[in-house]
């Protein structure tokens, strides 16, 4: 996961993305070739009379597809926090679902949940609404981001 800061057009923006080391093409090649090989082997045995290999190969291909699909869906996940005029905007993309939350900059508070034994969670809270952010960051980076955001909000 990475975070990028920029100030183009808005006063403050931070974007964090997943660290994906494979390309879409690479994933398709790997999962596709595995599934194809499995099915070819199973088809060969089915031709020799051992057809019960086929359903197991099929189930495995489903599992491979689900893993591939999960990677594809989450490939473009990101989270951005920006301060635009009087608003703090938190935009997240999680598995293809994009959500945008706008909170008043002057009322927004940054809070950190530090329940012992759990991962830290950071929230923006205003007017009874609470929006979690920093889900793609590690604990230390979450706290760092929370501090920076606090400084910006009070500045």
């Amino acid at each position: 996961m990475s975070s990028v800061a920029s100030g183009k057009g808005v006063q403050f923006t931070i974007v964090s993305r997943r660290n994906n080391s494979s390309s879409q093409h690479g994933r398709l090649l790997v999962f596709g070739s595995l599934g194809l090989f499995t099915l070819l082997v199973a088809a060969g045995f089915a031709l020799a009379g051992a057809w019960p290999v086929l359903p197991f190969a099929g189930m495995e291909c489903v599992a491979l597809y689900l893993a591939y699909r999960w990677l594809q869906r989450h490939d473009g996940d990101y989270e951005s926090i920006s301060i635009e005029g009087d608003c703090v905007v938190v935009e997240t993309r999680d598995g293809g679902k994009v959500q945008r939350h706008e909170l008043s900059r002057y009322w927004a508070q940054v809070v950190v949940d530090e329940s012992v034994g759990r991962r830290r969670r950071v929230f923006l809270r205003a007017h009874g609404r609470e929006v979690e952010f920093g889900r793609l960051l590690c604990d230390d980076a979450k706290v760092g981001l929370a501090k920076r955001l606090r400084a910006r909000l009070s500045g």
Partner: protein, 524 residues
């Protein structure tokens, strides 16, 4: 909830039994795999000692022949599926994320399920001894039509194999996804440590081979209970078809066990030679070649079924071909040591033990690849000696090397070096006492899987049994070394092995924190 302030909570994690049941942390799961594997190694080892006690002298002294067959079957299955495979999955869980700079496995919950499928499967296998008729006595190969004649123990065995296979498939998909998608920036495929490469290739093999095994045991089940005749010749089925299906899985399975062992040794030898691995790219290609060839040679296990001579020739030459990439690997390990600044701590000793003994196992494999020779040696103790050189001296010694090598990183404490060396020397001596003489027994014609034998085989069997008990007791020393290291080992230095240069040694403290690489490192 509190205001923003900074504390290092990286060591916060749940404790108690539920930590282990619910954990999704790759290090916890790796630890569970390794302890499970050791427990199964002990169970399978006791079964082996029952076999060797019976074989100490001719005649029947200790167990009934039926029970002997059950022990043979369970020993093989437990050692292959319960001990060796989970041991290397344990290494994979601990090491792969740390070696590629990832925070965890790609699917942490799936990882938890993959592990927790194992205990029920192992329980089914062990419980099968106590059902009416006892455990299946068919050998780990589960050949038909003998499987049709077994009691309820066979059904438990089939279910256990299904569960173990499911665990392997889920684990493999997780490993493939992790390696492909979670490498740190700059960690290109050809910069990955060889251990990671070997696991990527192993996971491919598992995914490709496991459905075949699942199909084979399902057909066995339907032949037993649902009136099908896939393998039952009396009903028009073909028992040889089972052998083809089983060995299409079974031969890659050998490499599923051996290839991660190659990976461990490829990390240990350069570290103690203080040199980079010689011929990295050729090692990667050789490993991939071995994996591909492993799917093309299965029928060399079946020369005696009456296959056409053309098929025998094909399988013979194809099998001999595997010696080429394997030779590349062996020579690269040797070249890595050449003019290196060698030291011989316990991990290196076990890696060298692996190198010598696995090479012997490879050579005897080459002998068995020759059809005319194999027809004579088929199902003799020569085969038993061969595969124990590959499985025990190959895979197990490599696993020991890996445990001693990475233990300081895992627990932050050093093991007792003197005791470690004792463990190595006792293991290698007793291993050879046990199994080297079995070559002679096989060459003299002693068949495998029999509880009684002709008088002429007595001396070598006695030697072998003495060696087996010595080897078994030596492993209790390993347990003692582990417990001693965990409870009262000296604090490990940050980098106990001067030549170790993978990310877990260069970028992480010792012991590795509970959560590591949450921000990926940049690899140059």
């Amino acid at each position: 909830m509190e205001a923003v302030h900074e504390h290092d909570h990286s060591h916060d994690h749940p404790s108690g039994i539920m930590r282990w049941v619910k954990t999704t942390n790759h290090k916890d799961i790796g630890t569970m795999y390794l302890w499970f594997s050791f427990a199964m190694f002990m169970v399978g080892g006791v079964m082996a000692l029952i076999l060797r006690a019976e074989l100490f002298q001719p005649g029947l002294q200790v167990v009934e022949p039926e029970f002997f067959n059950q022990m043979t079957t369970l020993h093989g299955l437990i050692m292959v599926f319960g001990a060796i495979m989970p041991a290397f999955v344990g290494f994979a869980n601990w090491q792969i994320p740390m070696m590629i700079g990832a925070p965890d496995m790609a699917f942490p919950r799936l990882n938890n399920w993959s592990f927790w499928l194992l205990p029920p499967a192992a329980t089914l296998l062990v419980l099968s001894m106590f059902v009416p008729g006892g455990a299946a006595g068919v050998g780990w190969t589960m050949y038909a039509p003998l499987t049709v004649q077994q009691g309820m123990g066979m059904d438990l065995l089939i279910f256990a194999v299904h569960i173990l296979g499911m665990s392997s498939i889920l684990g493999s998909i997780n490993i493939i996804t992790t390696i492909l998608n979670m490498r740190a920036p700059g960690m290109t495929m050809m910069k990955m440590p060889l251990f990671v490469w070997t696991w990527l290739i192993t996971a491919y093999l598992l995914v490709a081979a496991m459905p075949v095994l699942a199909g084979a045991v399902t057909m066995t089940l339907t032949d037993r209970h649902f009136g099908t005749n896939f393998f039952n010749a009396a009903g028009g089925g073909d028992p040889v078809l089972f052998q083809h299906i089983f060995w299409f899985f079974g031969h890659p399975e050998v490499y599923i066990i051996a290839i991660p062992a190659f990976g461990v040794v490829s990390q240990v030898i350069p570290a103690f030679s203080r040199k980079p691995l010689f011929g990295y790219a050729s090692m990667v290609y050789a490993t991939a070649s071995i994996a591909i060839l492993s799917f093309l040679v299965w029928a060399h296990h079946m020369y005696t079924v009456g296959m056409p001579v053309e098929a025998q020739l094909y399988y013979m030459f194809a099998t001999m071909l595997i010696a080429v990439p394997t030779g590349v690997k062996v020579f690269n390990w040797v070249a890595t040591m050449w003019r290196g600044s060698l030291t011989f701590e316990t991990p290196m000793l076990f890696a060298l033990g692996f190198l010598f003994l696995f090479t012997i196992g490879g050579f005897t494999g080459l002998v068995l690849s020759l059809t005319p020779v194999d027809v004579q040696l088929h199902d003799t103790y020569y085969v038993v000696a061969h595969f124990h050189y590959v499985m025990v001296a190959g895979a197990l010694f490599s696993a020991f090397a890996g445990v001693y090598f990475w233990l300081p990183k895992w627990i932050g404490k050093m093991y007792d070096e003197t005791l470690g060396k004792w463990h190595f020397w006792l293991s290698i001596i007793f291993f050879n006492v046990t199994f080297f003489v079995q070559h002679f027994l096989g060459l003299a014609g002693m068949p495998r899987r029999i509880p009684d034998y002709s008088l002429q085989f007595t001396d070598f069997n006695m030697i072998s049994s003495i060696g087996a008990f010595g080897f078994g007791l030596s492993q209790l020393l390993f347990l003692y070394i582990l417990i001693k290291a965990i409870r009262s080992g000296e604090k490990a230095p940050e980098k106990p092995w001067e030549g170790a240069d993978t990310l877990e040694w260069t970028h992480l403290p010792t012991p590795a924190p509970y959560h590591s690489f949450e921000t990926p490192p940049t690899v140059k």
